[in-house]
Structure formats: C-alpha cells, structure tokens
C-alpha cells in the first residue's frame, strides 16, 4: 500500500511559508522517502496568499495535493485559515499560530519554524534530520533562535 503523507503550509508572502516548506522537504528527503513539493509563487513578495504542498511516501505522483486530502495544514497566520481549509481531509490536523505561546518566541519571525516543531510531533522523522535541515536553510546567526523555536513547538 502506497500511503502518501500530505502537508500544506500556507500564509502570506514574506512570512516564511516557502522557507518552512523547504525545511520540511529537506528533513523528509534526508530521511529517505520519495517526495514532491509544489507551490505557486512569483508575485509573493507583495503580501499575497502563498501556499506550498509537500507530499511524501513510497512513490509520489502528482505534486499537487488533491482537495480534501491533506493530512496536515500548517497556517502561519489566522486569516489564511478560511481560504486554505478545503485542502484538509476529514479528521486531518490543523496547526495554527495560536498553538504557540508567542510570548515565549525570542524572535517572532520564527513562528514558521515553531509550527514545524508542532508538525514534527506527528511525523516519523529523526530530530537530527530536522536540525540539519534548519541549519542548511537559515543563516548561521539565526540557527540558535530557530532551534529554540522548533523545540518550543515540539515540546
């Protein structure tokens, strides 16, 4: 049985949707499964909606998650829930920013990585893969804050 895990990450341009999706994708890739990631961007720098589909499992075909089949929907800002909720399957998990106590975030911009921490609790990916992905996708000087954010979500 070819069970595919579907994750959508959504938010507004500039919030780090694509960065979060790159980190997740890299973490999954290093764990060894087939993976595809797809997103529509191009005009995202001007604050419009952005979303990214990540699919992984034994063999992934279409890079786009069929409507109503996402296992996880990670949304970086509350007001982007409504226009993305259709992607989630019945019984799927919605991960929203209020899952994180933002008072505890040293850098508010690392909310994307903090929410990946929440997602990581549901996925069978070694912590070392996550750390390596975070290291490879963010500037060195932001590594510690982001690991802290990741751990906050993962707790």
């Amino acid at each position: 049985m070819n069970k595919i895990t579907n994750v959508t990450i959504a938010g507004l341009g500039g919030q780090g949707v694509l960065k979060a999706s790159d980190i997740l994708t890299a973490a999954v890739f290093s764990s060894g499964c087939d993976i595809k990631k797809s997103e529509v961007h191009g005009m995202s720098q001007r604050g419009g909606s952005v979303s990214s589909d990540i699919r992984f499992g034994a063999k992934v075909l279409s890079p786009m998650i069929p409507r109503g089949t996402a296992d996880y929907l990670v949304v970086l800002t509350e007001d982007q829930v409504d226009n993305n909720i259709d992607t989630l399957r019945e019984g799927g998990t919605l991960i929203k920013p209020d899952t994180i106590d933002s008072e505890k975030l040293t850098n508010k911009r690392s909310i994307n990585v903090a929410l990946l921490g929440v997602l990581s609790k549901h996925l069978d990916i070694a912590e070392s893969c996550w750390h390596e992905a975070i290291r490879n996708h963010l500037p060195e000087k932001l590594f510690d804050v982001n690991i802290e954010a990741f751990n906050l979500g993962r707790r």
């Binding site: 595809k36 797809s38 529509v40 909606s49 075909l61 226009n83 993305n84 259709d86």
Partner: protein
Amino acid sequence: MNTSKKQLLSGNEAIALAAYHWGVKLGTGYPGTPSTEILENFSRLGGKAQWAPNEKVALEVGIGAAYSGARTLVTMKHVGVNVAADPLFTAAYTGVSGGLVLISADDPGMASSQNEQDNRHYARAAGVVMLEPADSQESYDFLIAGLEISEKWKMPVILRLTTRICHSKTIVQPRPCDSPSPEPSYQTDRAMRVMVPANARPAHKKLRQKLSEVALWNETSALNQAISGDKSLGIITSGISFMHALEAAPQAGFLKLGITYPLPIEKIRQFANSYERCVVIEEGDPYLVESIRAAGVMVEGKDEMYRFGELNVERVKRILAKDASPEAILPKGKPPQLCQGCPHRITFEILRDMNCIVSGDIGCYTLGVLPPFSAIDTCLCMGASISVGLGMRHVLDEKQARKIVSVIGDSTFMHSGITGLVEMVYNRPQTGHLVIVLDNNTTAMTGLQEHPGTGYSLDRQSAHQVSIEELSRSLGIEKTYVMDPRKEIESLKERIAECLAGSDPAVIVVRSPCILSVKARKK
C-alpha cells in the same frame, strides 16, 4: 564533478544542473516567471549566463553561439516566445551547428502572467522539435536529450515546461556527461546561413525532411513511454498531466509522450487500437487530441471547460468521467499588493488625483490598478504602454488626449519601450505625449534581476550602465527630466501637469530604488 548523489531539485534547478554537466557554453534569456531561476542557477553553478534586454535578442545571441558550434541554452516564459518568434521561425530553416535548446516556460492557470497561451502550437507552426518533461528528473534528462537531438539533426529544439514543472521540487539522479561539449569554431555555409529566398526555399524543404526523419526516429524513441494496463482505458498524455492522470487512474494503460512534436503517430495509432476507450489528457488547448484525430486516430478529448486553468488529479477524474458540471469555486486568497514603502505608490497617488488615463505596462507597478490607486487603465504586453498611449493620443479629442500618460518600468523600458519612444518622436501626436519611466533600478516583478540600466550583469559584475535619460535626450526629447518621488513630490506633480498642458513629447524618469532590492543588497 559529483554526479553520483541524488538531489531534490525544482525543474528549473534540474535544467541548470544538466546544462552545467553537459558543458553548455552560453545561457541567455530574459527573466519571466516561471523560467527565471534557470539562468540564475546555471550562473551559480559556474556556467556563463547573461540577461539580454529582451527575448528576441536573447534567442538571436543564442543562435549566434549555436551557429558557432557551441552548446547553448536560451530561456524565457511563454509570452517571451512571442517576442522571439521572428528569429525562431527562420532558425528552424537555417538550423544550427551546436546544440540549441530554447526553454518555453508556459503558465497554464496564469499564476503570474497576462495570458495562458499554449506554446506547443509554436513547435508545429515553426517546425521545431518539442520535448515535454513531467518532473525534475525528466527536466534534467530531457535537456540532455534536447541537446543530443539538436546536435544530431542540427536544428533548434524547444523544451516546453509549465509552472508546476519549473517550481515543483522532485528527486533527481544526475549522471556523468558522456558526450563532451565541442569547442566552438565557425564553418562557413552561406547556403544554410543566409536566408535570401533562393537559399530559404531549399532550406524549408530540408527542414521538412529533417522533421520527417525525427518523426520516424521518434516512433521507437525511449522518450515516449508505454505502460500497459487494463484494456478498458488507455490514456495518451504528456508533461505534468501524466502525473495527475497516473494518480487519477492507476489501473489504466498509458502512452506518455516525451516528444510532442513531431508526434510518433503510428505508435499512437497502435496504442489507441489496443484499448476499448482511449482518452487524451492534456492541459491547455486541445493540441494533442486535434493532431491525433487529424491523423485519423479516433481518441476522446476533454470538455471545453478544461481548456482553462491547470489540471490536477480531481479534474482528470472528472474528464475521465465525462463530467462537465460546474466545478466547486475555491475560496480566493489575498491578492498581492505594492509593498508598503514602495516608491511606485507615490506616482500612482499623483496620477489618480490628477484623474489621468494611464496606459500601463507589466511589472510590480501593474498593481497600481488595485485600490487605493485604481490608476492603471490598460495593460497588454511588455512595452505596450508607450505605443498604446500614442494610439490613444492620435484619435481622442484634445480634452481626453491630454489626460493620457504612459507608465513603464525600467526593465520593461529596456525590453521594448525604446522603440515606442522612437515612435513618439517620429509620429508625434498633436498634443504631444508624456512617458513616465518608473525606475526602481531592478526587475522587481520577477525577483530582482539586473538589466542593462542597473550597471550590473547577471552574476553581479559591474557592467556598462545604459542611461534612460541620455537615451531619451539623444532621440531629441528635450523635455526629459529625472525626479526623486520621495524628495520631490510637489515638483513631480507640477512637472506632470506642465507636460500634460504642453504639446511636446516628454519623458519623466521617476527614480527611487525598490525597497526589497535595497534590503536584498544589504544581505
């Protein structure tokens, strides 16, 4: 060169990597979503890549390199091929010496484009072999195959991508190059290179002959893949549609075409005959289905409603079920806006308050059409702001004519605005005209690329900087002004009013850097 490790790459990155591994000597193009990252990555890897002022120039530079025997890559978005169509059609006649692959990155669904034209028609119209990959691995492999076909038959090849191929990341296994890139050297061949009618007539016949050879070869090419399945349903498809269709109907038989011009028509006939029902699944126009039917093979197509937008698994299931009922309307996301602090905002506020009729152009500044500005009245294609504005000036009564302003970005000006300026001084409207160049010193829309006016090349080396104001003055436009919208709002307003009241051709270069580019440069 490490080619052993699997990598997770976008289609664009995979193409850049294949071009680098196969020793492409020159990559040239003009930015355009979704193609832009190909040359940027090729340059990052160490390849020689450059931005041309527009796609016609890019393709001509590429053809020159390929005439000289070099492996060459030329990249552009679908509408760029319209600009480059003139050299393309005749390069099909002349052929090339070095491998030449033209990337056409189409945008079905218009994620970031002004139309969703289907460039597969170009392959047939110009008589150029076309390949269509379905993921990043195939993007890598098909670029190489494209170079091989181009070198073998000495003709340009189109590699047609779509947004989902360009921007999706999938796993790629690279491989070591098994055919070294030839050293460029020019061999005189006037009969094939000088397209006067006496040479072009036989060249056209030669082209058709080469195409029939390719078609014959394509009947057994490994680039077209047959997967047997349940006899009740056979699906003919190509590109990303293959992935959606395989997921939608895993039990079906498939003929996945890698080369979609010229078609392996006998292979298709045989496939169609061995299934009870044979359906063509393709995104965009009914290109495959019409070509296949024209050859007398009866295949099913899709309802007209599926011509619009991208396909996906759900839509393929509907096509297979012959379901043409209205589709669910998906909630719309938030549209993009001009950044807070974007210098373009100031000009649009002024134009709005002056109640101008604005002949606009394409770039970030097209977002001036949205509230609170609502200050763009037309947007057609790159460069059209100046010429469309002139046409309006010529025929409108004086009262309306004096409200017309053409607004164009700096990259767009370099791309195709200059000839509009020449038109303005040559066929000068009675009321004169005003062109505002929004010079933010970058190509912001597509992700901050350099252009001939920025003073830097693609790889951020300093380059000669073309001056917009000097160009304008050299055409005899005395009323050429440069203004800073942040420091001179009042005088900018006055200057615009003065130009609209006068009857001379005028150019105001409104100069202030894109705030995102300033941030990016600081990093």
